[in-house]
C-alpha cells in the first residue's frame, strides 16, 4: 500500500487535485468493511463482476441528482445563499452548489435542466449569451471530468437556444449534454439546432423523453454517461457484469442460461445489497449531508444500477462454439440469444428486493454499461462491436429491441459523414424514427470532429495527444479516452 501511495505522489501526469482524489481512494480501499464472501471476492478478482473502482467503503451514493429547481426556489442555509433574483445570481448560486455535490468522481454527475433553471432570468439575449458562455467555461475548467452532465429540453426556451449556440462556439468537452427529446413537445426548429450542435461538437445526446417519463415520471435526469435516474436522488451504486467473461466459463448456452447466469446474478445482487447497506446504515451520508438535510436529496429517491457489458462477445462466443457463422448485430438468430440473455437477467433482477430502493419499487434497474478504459475485446453494454455495424436502419431496429430493458441507461453511437452538416433535418428524421423504434438514447457526432464521444463521454482529440506525450492535462477523463482509444478501434465506427 505504501508503494502505491508513493506512486500516486510521484506521478507526473496527475494534476494536484487528481492526486488528492487518488490518495483518498487508496485510503478508502485499505479498508475491508463490506463483509464480502469468498465467492463474491473471487468474482471481483476474476473480473466477471466489476465494481468500477467505486471503493471498498462507500461513503456517498455513486450518482446524486440534486433537485436544483428546489434549490433555486429556496436557496441554501448551509451555503448561505438566498434564492437568486437575476441571471448573475442564478449562475453564481449553481456554480457554488456544483462544488459541494458528492459523487464517485468527486465531481457532480448531474447539473440540472440548466435551460429551465436559467430561462426565467433571461432578459437581454446577447448579455445572457455572454454570461452563459462564462457559466459553461467555468464548468469546463473547474469540474474537469466528462461525466459532468447537463440537461436541456424537451420544450424550446430562449435559454435552451443560447446554450446550444454557446456550446457550438465554445467546443468544450465538459459538460456532457442531453436534450430530452419528444416529438410532441420539442419544436422541430429547436431540435434541428440541437442536431447542428451535435454535428459540430458531438453533443447533445437525444434522450427519448416519453420512454424516460414512462419509467421514472417527469422528475428524471440524465447523469454521467447517459444514465436515466430520479431527480432528488440517484443511484447508490453501479456494479457491472462481464457477460463475455461469464460466457467463456460456460460449456454451453444452456449452462450459461440455466446455471452460470442465475448464480452470478445472485452473487452480484448480494454484493450490491452489501454496498447499499453500508452506505445507508453506516456511512452516515443520509444523516449528515447538507443536501439531504435541506431536502435537495432524499433517500426515498434512490435506486441502484445493475450493469451489464460484453453481450455481443457473449453471443458470438456461443455462435462460434456451435459452429455457426453468425454474428451479434448481423443475424436475427444471434440477436435472439442476446435477447434471451437480457430477458433472463431482467427477470431475476426484477425478482430481487432491496428495501432502500423505494423509488423503483425496491428493485434494482438494469444499465447497459459503456465500458472503461482498460476493457479489451468487450463491447459496451449490448452495442454491436465497432466495425460490424449493419446499415443504420438495421442498426437502429436491432438496438431498439434492447433499449427498453435499461431504464438507467443504454445508448448507441452513430458517426455521421460531414455531408450531413448541410442537411441536419435528415439527421433529425433519423432520430425521430429511432425514437419510434424504441431507442432510449441516440448519440451522434461527425466523424472527424475535435470532440470525440469515446463510449459515453467526450474527450478532446488535442488533449489526448498532449497526454500521450506525458504532459498533465486538465480533465481526468482524457486518460480514460486514451486507454479506450488504444483498446478499441473507435475510428472504425461505421460512417453514416
Amino acid at each position: 500500500m505504501q508503494k502505491e501511495i508513493l506512486e500516486i505522489i510521484k506521478n507526473r501526469s496527475l494534476e494536484q487535485y487528481q492526486k488528492v482524489i487518488a490518495l483518498a481512494r487508496a485510503a478508502e480501499n485499505s479498508l475491508d468493511v463490506l463483509d464480502l464472501s469468498i465467492n463474491e471476492k473471487q468474482h471481483l478478482n476474476e473480473g466477471i463482476i466489476c465494481d468500477l473502482k467505486e471503493g471498498n467503503a462507500p461513503f456517498r451514493p455513486r450518482y446524486n441528482l440534486v433537485d436544483f429547481e428546489k434549490f433555486m426556489q429556496q436557496g441554501s442555509d448551509f451555503l448561505e445563499l438566498d434564492p437568486p433574483r437575476n441571471l448573475q445570481e442564478a449562475i453564481n448560486s449553481l456554480l457554488i452548489l456544483y462544488k459541494h455535490i458528492p459523487s464517485v468522481t468527486t465531481f457532480p454527475v448531474y447539473l440540472g435542466n440548466i435551460d429551465k433553471l436559467l430561462n426565467p432570468f433571461i432578459e437581454d439575449e446577447s448579455e445572457a449569451l455572454a454570461l452563459i458562455k462564462l457559466f459553461l467555461t467555468h464548468i469546463d475548467r473547474t469540474l474537469t471530468d466528462s461525466f459532468v452532465h447537463a440537461n436541456i429540453g424537451p420544450e424550446e426556451t430562449k435559454a435552451g437556444r443560447l446554450i446550444l449556440q454557446a456550446e457550438r462556439e465554445l467546443e468544450n468537452p465538459v459538460p456532457n449534454l442531453s436534450l430530452k427529446y419528444s416529438q410532441e413537445l420539442t419544436a422541430d426548429a429547436f431540435a434541428v439546432e440541437a442536431v447542428k450542435t451535435g454535428l459540430a461538437v458531438s453533443k447533445p445526446y437525444f434522450a427519448n423523453h416519453e420512454m424516460f417519463v414512462n419509467d421514472f415520471g417527469e422528475k428524471y435526469g440524465l447523469a454521467s454517461c447517459y444514465n436515466g435516474l430520479p431527480i432528488g436522488g440517484g443511484s447508490f451504486t453501479l456494479v457491472r457484469l462481464n457477460l463475455k467473461a461469464l460466457a467463456e466459463k460456460a460449456v454451453s448456452r444452456k449452462e450459461l442460461l440455466e446455471e452460470k447466469l442465475p448464480q452470478t446474478v445472485r452473487i452480484m445482487l448480494s454484493l450490491m445489497d452489501k454496498r447499499i447497506r453500508f452506505l445507508v446504515e453506516e456511512s452516515g451520508f443520509f444523516r449528515s449531508n447538507f443536501l439531504v438535510q435541506e431536502g435537495l436529496l432524499n433517500l426515498k429517491r434512490y435506486t441502484a444500477m445493475f450493469g451489464i457489458f460484453g453481450l455481443a462477445e457473449a453471443v458470438n462466443h456461443f455462435m462460434k462454439k456451435e459452429g455457426k457463422e453468425l454474428r451479434y448485430g448481423q443475424s436475427e438468430l444471434a440477436d435472439e440469444l442476446g435477447l434471451q440473455i437480457i430477458e433472463k437477467i431482467a427477470e431475476q433482477v426484477a425478482g430481487h428486493k432491496n428495501k432502500y430502493c423505494s423509488v423503483s419499487q425496491q428493485k434494482f434497474l438494469l444499465h447497459a454499461q459503456s465500458g472503461i478504459g482498460p476493457d479489451e475485446d468487450t463491447t459496451p453494454g449490448c452495442r454491436i462491436p465497432i466495425g460490424e455495424e449493419p446499415d443504420i436502419y438495421e442498426h437502429i431496429l436491432q438496438a431498439g429491441q434492447f433499449h427498453s430493458y435499461f431504464p438507467t441507461g443504454v445508448s448507441d453511437i452513430f458517426a455521421f459523414a460531414r455531408t450531413n452538416k448541410r442537411n441536419p433535418a435528415a439527421v433529425l428524421d433519423i432520430i425521430k424514427g429511432a425514437m419510434q423504434s424504441g431507442l432510449r438514447m441516440f448519440a451522434f457526432y461527425t466523424k472527424d470532429s475535435e470532440l470525440i464521444r469515446i463510449t459515453g463521454y467526450l474527450v478532446k482529440r488535442s488533449e489526448m495527444e498532449k497526454l500521450k506525450k506525458g504532459k498533465a492535462v486538465l480533465r481526468d477523463t482524457t486518460l480514460l479516452g486514451v486507454e479506450t482509444m488504444e483498446n478499441q478501434d473507435l475510428a472504425g465506427r461505421k460512417e453514416r
Partner: protein
C-alpha cells in the same frame, strides 16, 4: 427493353437507398430506376443507362455465382450471394447492369412504409425516372397517402407540363442543367437542352423547382458561360432556388468517354461568386 415486364405497374429498379441526406430536404429514401435517354460523357453511374439484353456476358465473371439464367432465358440476380464487387458491370458491353430488380408498386410501397418513421419522403432518381411517368404517377399518389413528400431527380428531358397527373402529387423537382448551349448539351448528353430550359422555367413558375445542378468539368464545357447564363435565368425566376455546382469527379466515369480532372477549389469558388453576383441567393458547392 426485353427485361421490362409486360405488366404496366412494374419498373426496373437499379437500387433503393433507404437513407439519403443529399437528395432533397430531410432524410429520404431514394429509388433509382434503370434506363436513361442521355448518354453523358461524364456519367458516373453508366450501368444505369441501358436495359439488360440478357446476353449473359456477366455470368462467368461473377465470383459468387449470384448471376444465373432463369427458365425464361433472362439473367437473374441473387442479391444475398452478391458481394458488390462490380465485376459484372465491368463485363457488361452495353452500359447496363444485371443487378436490378423488377418491382411492383405494392412492393415498393411496402418498403417505403417500413421506412416511414425515419424519412421526410422519397426521391425518385435514375437513370431517368421521367421515362416512366405512368408508374411515377401511381407511386407518388400512394406515397402521398403515407403522408410523405415526393421529390424527383431528373435530367429535364421529358416535358413535365404535359404530365398534370404526375404533378398533382409531385412536391418538387431537382433538375440537371448540364449546359446552357444546345450544341454543347448535345455533345455532352446526346440530346439538346430545349426541354430542360422549358422544364426549369415551368417548374419554377409552379413553385416546384427545388434545385438546379450543373457539373463543372474543366476542358470539356464552357463552365463560365454556363454558370453565368443559368444563374441569371434562375435569379430571374426565383432567387431562392438552390443552385448546386458540382465538382466533376472521375469516380465511376468511363475512361473511354472522358478523361478529365476535378476542377480546383479556387475555380469553383469563382463560379460560385459569379452565380451569387447574378443574384442567386442559395448557391451550394459540392
Amino acid at each position: 427493353m426485353q427485361r421490362q415486364s409486360k405488366k404496366k405497374k412494374e419498373v426496373i429498379v437499379n437500387k433503393i437507398i433507404p437513407f439519403s441526406s443529399v437528395d432533397g430536404p430531410g432524410n429520404r429514401t431514394v429509388i433509382f430506376l434503370q434506363g436513361c435517354n442521355f448518354d453523358c460523357l461524364y456519367c458516373h453511374n453508366p450501368e444505369t443507362i441501358n436495359i439488360c439484353n440478357n446476353c449473359g456476358n456477366c455470368l462467368a465473371v461473377c465470383p459468387k455465382g449470384a448471376l444465373t439464367i432463369n427458365e425464361r432465358d433472362q439473367v437473374s440476380w441473387q442479391e444475398e450471394l452478391c458481394i458488390a464487387c462490380d465485376k459484372c458491370l465491368e463485363a457488361c458491353l452495353r452500359d447496363s447492369s444485371p443487378r436490378v430488380k423488377i418491382m411492383g408498386l405494392e412492393e415498393i410501397i411496402r418498403k417505403v412504409r417500413k421506412l416511414k418513421p425515419f424519412i421526410s419522403g422519397i426521391t425518385v432518381s435514375g437513370g431517368e425516372a421521367t421515362l416512366q411517368t405512368d408508374f411515377l404517377t401511381d407511386l407518388f399518389r400512394e406515397v402521398k397517402k403515407l403522408g410523405l413528400s415526393n421529390f424527383l431527380d431528373t435530367n429535364g428531358s421529358v416535358l413535365l407540363e404535359d404530365k398534370p397527373l404526375l404533378l398533382e402529387n409531385l412536391d418538387m423537382a431537382m433538375i440537371d442543367f448540364k449546359s446552357f448551349k444546345s450544341a454543347e448539351h448535345r455533345r455532352l448528353t446526346g440530346l439538346d437542352n430545349i426541354n430542360v430550359m422549358k422544364n426549369v422555367k415551368f417548374m419554377a413558375k409552379v413553385d416546384k423547382l427545388y434545385e438546379v445542378r450543373t457539373v463543372i468539368v474543366p476542358n470539356l464545357l464552357d463552365n463560365y458561360f454556363n454558370v453565368d447564363q443559368i444563374s441569371k435565368l434562375l435569379a430571374g425566376l426565383d432567387s431562392k432556388i438552390r443552385y448546386k455546382l458540382i465538382k466533376y469527379r472521375a469516380m465511376g466515369v468511363r475512361k473511354e468517354k472522358l478523361e478529365s480532372i476535378s476542377p480546383e477549389q479556387e475555380y469553383m469558388l469563382e463560379l460560385v461568386s459569379i452565380a451569387e453576383k447574378n443574384g442567386c441567393q442559395n448557391v451550394v458547392l459540392v
